[in-house]
C-alpha cells in the first residue's frame, strides 16, 4: 500500500481534500444569515471497544463523509458484558453493530431490528490451537477443552452440531483473552476473533493451527450494521446516507491501511497503533465481498445461517423471523457514483 501518501499525522486529509473541505466549510459559513448547516445527531452503538475493525466508521467521521451527508455521528463503545442491542431497540442509538448471530438472536426474541449491511462478509470466529495439540479437523475437537465466549458460543455449537461432535465430548471454558491463559494450556482450543487475539499471538511468535467455520459449511456473517425497523420505514434516506458514508470510509481505509493504526488512536488513545494495524489487516479479508458490493447480504447465506442457528441455537429457532435484513441501502454490484474520481 502506499505508505508515503501521508507523512504527517493528519491522517487522511490530503491537500486537495483539505481544500475541498475548506471550501465546503466556507460555503456553509456563508449561508444566509450566517447560519451553519444543522447536522443531524446520530448515535452508533458499537459492539466492542474502539479498535481497528471499526476503522471505516472512523475514516468516514474523520474525513467528514458523515458531515457531508448532514450527520454528526457519536460512537458508543461496549464492553464484553454490555448489551449493545437494546440501545437501538429503545431508540437510544440510531444504528448498531452486532455479530449477525447476535442480531438474529435478538430478532428471535422479538426485537424489531433490521440488518442493513454486512460489514464482515465472514464471521471472524476462528478456532486456534498450538500445533502440538494436532487439531486439523473438527473431529479432532472431541475430548478437548475449548475456550469460548458469549459471542463465539453460537458458531462453535453450530460447528459441533454440524459435524456430530456431541457437546458432552468437549469441555467449554470461558476465559479472558490473555496470553498467559493461552500459554498455560488451560484450554487446548481457543475460539477467538481472527482479527484480534490471534494477531497478538502471532506477534508473540506463536504458530497456530486454525479451523475456519467457512471450511466446514458454517458460513456466518460477521459484524452487521443494523437499525430499528421504524428507522428503515420512516427515514430511509438517513439509513442510505449513513450506510454509504460508512462504506466510503471503509474504502478509504482499505486503500490506506498504513494509517489505520493512527486513526484508531484518535478514538482510542491508549491503543497500540501497530497492533491495531495488524488487527485491521486481519479484518480486511473478512470484508471482501464476492461478486456483490461491499455490505451485500446474500439471501441464501442469511437463510442458511438462520436455519443453522434455528437448529442449534439456545433459543427457539422457529422464532427467528425470515428476512430481518435488507439490501436496499447497498449498491448492488455497482460502484457508488460518489466514489468515482
Amino acid at each position: 500500500m502506499n505508505s508515503q501518501r501521508y507523512s504527517k499525522p493528519q491522517l487522511f486529509i490530503s491537500q486537495p481534500l483539505f481544500a475541498i473541505l475548506l471550501v465546503v466549510f466556507v460555503s456553509s459559513c456563508a449561508l444566509p444569515g450566517g447560519a451553519v448547516q444543522e447536522l443531524q445527531a446520530i448515535d452508533v452503538q458499537l459492539n466492542w471497544y474502539h479498535f481497528a475493525p471499526f476503522a471505516g466508521f472512523y475514516a468516514a467521521d474523520h474525513e467528514g463523509l458523515y458531515q457531508d451527508q448532514g450527520l454528526r455521528v457519536t460512537f458508543h463503545e461496549a464492553g464484553p458484558q454490555d448489551d449493545y442491542i437494546t440501545p437501538v431497540v429503545e431508540g437510544r442509538a440510531d444504528f448498531g453493530v452486532a455479530l449477525a448471530d447476535a442480531l438474529m438472536e435478538a430478532q428471535a426474541e422479538g426485537a424489531p431490528l433490521v440488518a442493513v449491511a454486512a460489514i464482515l462478509q465472514h464471521s471472524p470466529v476462528v478456532l486456534v490451537s498450538k500445533p502440538q495439540v494436532q487439531i486439523r479437523t473438527l473431529s479432532d475437537l472431541a475430548g478437548k477443552t475449548i475456550r469460548i465466549t458469549n459471542q463465539t458460543e453460537p458458531i462453535v455449537e453450530a460447528l459441533l452440531h454440524q459435524y456430530g461432535v456431541p457437546m458432552e465430548a468437549v469441555e467449554f471454558v470461558n476465559l479472558p483473552s490473555s496470553l498467559d491463559e493461552f500459554e498455560s494450556g488451560s484450554a487446548e482450543v481457543w475460539t477467538v476473533y481472527s482479527n484480534s487475539f490471534p494477531v497478538q499471538l502471532a506477534q508473540e511468535g506463536y504458530e497456530l493451527n486454525s479451523l475456519f467455520p467457512d471450511d466446514f459449511q458454517v458460513h456466518f456473517y460477521g459484524d452487521v450494521l443494523f437499525t430499528h425497523e421504524r428507522t428503515v420505514e420512516a427515514q430511509p434516506e438517513l439509513v442510505a446516507s449513513f450506510v454509504q458514508a460508512t462504506f466510503a470510509g471503509y474504502r478509504i481505509v482499505i486503500e490506506d491501511e498504513e494509517n489505520v493504526g493512527l486513526l484508531v488512536t484518535e478514538y482510542a488513545p491508549e491503543a497500540n497503533s501497530a497492533l491495531e494495524l495488524e488487527k485491521w489487516r486481519g479484518t480486511m479479508p473478512l470484508m471482501l465481498p464476492g461478486r456483490k458490493a461491499m455490505g451485500w447480504i446474500e439471501p441464501d447465506r442469511w437463510e442458511q445461517m438462520r436455519q443453522v442457528l434455528a437448529r442449534h441455537g439456545d433459543w427457539d429457532g422457529a422464532q427467528i423471523p425470515a428476512g430481518g435484513f435488507t439490501n436496499q441501502f447497498v449498491e448492488n454490484g455497482q460502484i457508488p457514483e460518489s466514489a468515482i474520481r
Binding site: Q217, R251, M284, L286, M294, R301, I335, R341
Partner: protein, 565 residues
C-alpha cells in the same frame, strides 16, 4: 522607419501569421493522429492482453478437462466420491500422485483438488491439508458442477491469499457427476501477463478490476494492490456500465491518463490499459516543438527572401532619393535611370521631366539674377567675417578700381578700409544688430585713391550653415564733396549776412519772419529774436502796406525771381 525595414517586418509578420495558421492546423491534425495512434495501440495492447489472459484461463480449463476426461480419473473419482469400497484412500492416493501431482510441474496450477459433487468437500488435494475442508459456497464449485468455469481472483479467507480457481465437472460416460476437479491457477503467470510492457512505455500498464472496483492484478505504481486497492475511476465505471467508453480518465493515483477499457462479461472483469497522458502525449509536445521550430525557420527564411525582394523594390526608391539629394545640392542636371517600364520607371520619368523644367526655370532665374547682379549700379558682395570675398559684382570691382570681378575676388576686404578702426566698429555693430544700414566709411581703392562709400550689410548663412556677410555699397564720394562745398558756401553766405548793415530777412508765405539778420537791432531797435514769427508788414507804414503786400504776392507768384521795390 525605412521602407525596406517596413516591408521586411511586413514579410516577417505575414510569414509568422501564415506559419502559425498552417502550424496550428498541422499540429491539430498531428495531435489527433498521435492521439488516435496511441489509443489504437492501447486498444491493441488491451486486446492482446485479453487474448493472452483468455488463453491462460482457457488453457487452465483445458488442462483440467483433459484430466477430467481420462477414464481412469473418472473411475477413481467415482470410487472416491461414492466411497464404494475400502479402496477409496488408495484411489485418492493414485489420483493425487499419478494424475494431479505431475501436472503441477508445469507450473500452470499451484494446487489441484477433487471436490465431492454434492457437499463441496475437498476429497483429494495436492495440498493434503485442504482435504476434508468444504468449498460448497464457492462459485467455482457451484458452477463447476455444471460446466468448466473459472472464478476470477477472490480472496480465500481460509488460505489468507488471493486465488483464481478453475473447475470442471467429472462425469461418467452416462453423464453421472462423480466429482468436481478444481485447480488454483498459478498467479505468477498472471502477473507475467500483466507485467509492464517495457522501458519505452514507462507509465503504461494493464490491469484487471472486478465489479466492485477492486484491482485483481498487480499495479505498476502500487505494491500488493490485489484486492486491496479500489480503482474507482470514471474509466472503470464507464467500462462497467458498458456504454460510451471513456478514453481520457483520472487513474487510481489521480493522474490524467489515456485508456482502453474493455468489459469482459465472461469473467465479470474490466480490463484496463492506461498510460499517463504526459508520456502518451509527449510525441505531441515534440511534434509541437518541431512545428514551432519549422514555422519559425520558415518565417525567418521567408523574411530573408522578403528582405532580399524588398531590396529590389527599395533600390529604385533609394536611387531616386540620391538623385533628389543631388537636386537639393543644385545638380539639376542629374537624371534617374529608367531601366524598365514599371511604376518606378514612370515615376523616374516624371522626376526627370520635373528636373528638366526646374533646370530651365533655374537657368532663367540664374540669368536674371546675373543680369541684375551685374547691372545694378550698386556694388554687391558676399564675404566671410575674415573678409574673404565669396562673390562681388562688376560694379563693386569698378568702384574699387579693379579690372574685373575675378581680380577683386583674389583680394580680401580688410585691405580696403582706410581706417582699421572703422572696420572693427562696423563689424561689431553688424554682429550686434545683424544689420548695418547707411554706414559711411572711407575706403582706399586699389589705386590708392580714397573714396567714401555708403555701406549697407547684413548677416546671413550660406548653404552649409556658415554665417556670411552680404553687403551693398554706393560710392558717395561726390556727395561728400558737394556737401563739403555746400558747407563752405553756406559759411560764406552766413558771414556776409551776419555782418551786413542791411536788413536781411526771410519770410514765409504769410509774411511772417523766419530769419532776421542781426542788423535789425541797428535799424529798428528790435532784437531779431523778438520779431521772429511776427508779421513783417506790421513794421511797414500803413500807407505802404498795400503796395508792399501786392509786391509780396507778385513775388510769391514768381518763385526764383527778384523784385526791386
Amino acid at each position: 522607419m525605412k521602407l525596406r525595414t517596413r516591408l521586411t517586418l511586413g514579410f516577417l509578420l505575414l510569414s509568422l501569421v501564415s506559419m502559425a495558421a498552417v502550424g496550428f492546423l498541422a499540429f491539430k491534425m498531428g495531435q489527433e493522429q498521435i492521439l488516435n495512434n496511441t489509443l489504437q495501440r492501447l486498444d491493441v495492447t488491451n486486446e492482446l492482453t485479453e487474448d493472452e489472459f483468455s488463453r491462460w484461463m482457457t488453457g487452465g480449463l483445458s488442462t483440467l478437462e483433459s484430466i477430467a476426461q481420462r477414464p481412469l480419473v473418472v473411475d477413481l473419482s467415482r470410487e472416491i466420491s461414492v466411497r464404494i469400497d475400502d479402496n477409496a484412500n488408495e484411489a485418492a492416493d493414485q489420483l493425487r500422485d499419478v494424475h494431479m501431482q505431475p501436472r503441477l510441474q508445469e507450473a500452470e496450477f499451484e494446487t489441484l483438488f477433487l471436490l465431492d459433487p454434492d457437499s463441496g468437500q475437498i476429497l483429494v488435494s495436492t495440498n493434503m491439508e485442504d482435504e476434508g475442508l468444504f468449498r460448497e459456497q464457492e462459485p467455482f464449485f457451484q458452477q463447476g458442477r455444471m460446466a468448466g468455469t473459472i472464478q476470477a481472483i477472490y480472496f480465500s479467507l481460509t488460505e489468507q491469499r488471493p486465488r483464481m480457481t478453475a473447475a470442471v465437472p467429472i462425469k461418467t460416460e452416462t453423464g453421472e457427476l462423480v466429482g468436481v476437479l478444481a485447480g488454483h491457477l498459478n498467479l505468477e503467470e498472471m502477473a507475467r501477463i500483466f507485467s509492464p510492457p517495457g522501458s519505452d512505455r514507462q507509465t503504461e500498464e494493464t490491469y484487471l478490476v472486478n465489479r466492485q472496483g477492486m484491482a485483481i492484478s498487480e499495479l505498476l505504481n502500487q505494491q500488493d494492490a490485489v484486492l486491496e486497492t479500489w480503482i474507482l475511476t470514471s474509466g472503470v465505471e464507464s467500462c462497467m456500465r458498458g456504454d460510451s467508453i471513456l478514453r481520457e480518465s483520472i487513474d487510481y493515483r489521480g493522474a490524467a491518463v489515456l485508456g482502453s477499457y474493455k468489459w469482459l462479461p465472461e469473467y465479470d472483469l474490466c480490463l484496463v490499459t492506461e498510460i499517463d497522458q504526459a508520456e502518451a502525449l509527449e510525441p505531441i509536445q515534440q511534434y509541437r516543438s518541431s512545428v514551432i521550430g519549422f514555422g519559425l525557420g520558415a518565417a525567418a527564411f521567408f523574411s530573408l527572401l522578403g528582405f532580399i525582394y524588398t531590396g529590389t523594390l527599395a533600390a529604385p526608391v533609394i536611387k531616386m532619393r540620391d538623385v533628389a539629394r543631388r537636386y537639393r545640392r543644385g545638380e539639376l542636371g542629374a537624371r534617374m535611370a529608367i531601366p524598365s517600364t514599371d511604376e518606378y520607371a514612370a515615376l523616374a520619368h516624371e522626376f526627370n521631366r520635373m528636373a528638366a523644367e526646374l533646370q530651365m526655370d533655374f537657368d532663367e532665374l540664374e540669368r536674371r539674377y546675373q543680369s541684375l547682379f551685374e547691372s545694378v549700379p550698386v556694388g554687391l558682395y558676399q564675404s566671410t567675417f575674415d573678409g574673404e570675398f565669396r562673390e562681388v559684382n562688376s560694379t563693386l570691382a569698378e568702384i574699387l578700381d579693379f579690372e574685373n570681378r575675378e581680380e577683386m575676388l583674389a583680394t580680401s576686404a580688410p585691405v580696403f578700409f582706410a581706417n582699421t578702426s572703422d572696420r572693427d566698429r562696423w563689424l561689431e555693430e553688424l554682429k550686434q544688430k545683424n544689420e548695418v544700414v547707411g554706414f559711411e566709411l572711407e575706403i582706399k581703392r586699389k589705386d590708392g585713391e580714397r573714396i567714401w562709400l555708403r555701406h549697407d550689410a547684413h548677416l546671413t548663412q550660406d548653404s552649409e550653415g556658415n554665417t556670411i556677410i552680404e553687403g551693398a555699397v554706393m560710392d558717395i564720394t561726390a556727395r561728400h564733396r558737394i556737401a563739403a562745398e555746400l558747407r563752405a558756401s553756406e559759411a560764406r553766405f552766413r558771414s556776409v549776412v551776419q555782418n551786413s548793415q542791411d536788413l536781411i530777412s526771410i519770410l514765409d508765405a504769410e509774411g511772417n519772419y523766419i530769419y532776421i539778420s542781426p542788423s535789425m537791432k541797428g535799424i529798428f531797435g528790435h532784437e531779431p529774436e523778438e520779431l521772429l514769427h511776427t508779421n513783417a508788414f506790421a513794421l511797414v507804414h500803413p500807407e505802404d502796406v498795400a503796395e508792399v503786400e501786392a509786391t509780396f504776392a507778385e513775388l510769391l507768384g514768381k518763385p526764383g525771381s527778384t523784385l526791386n521795390a
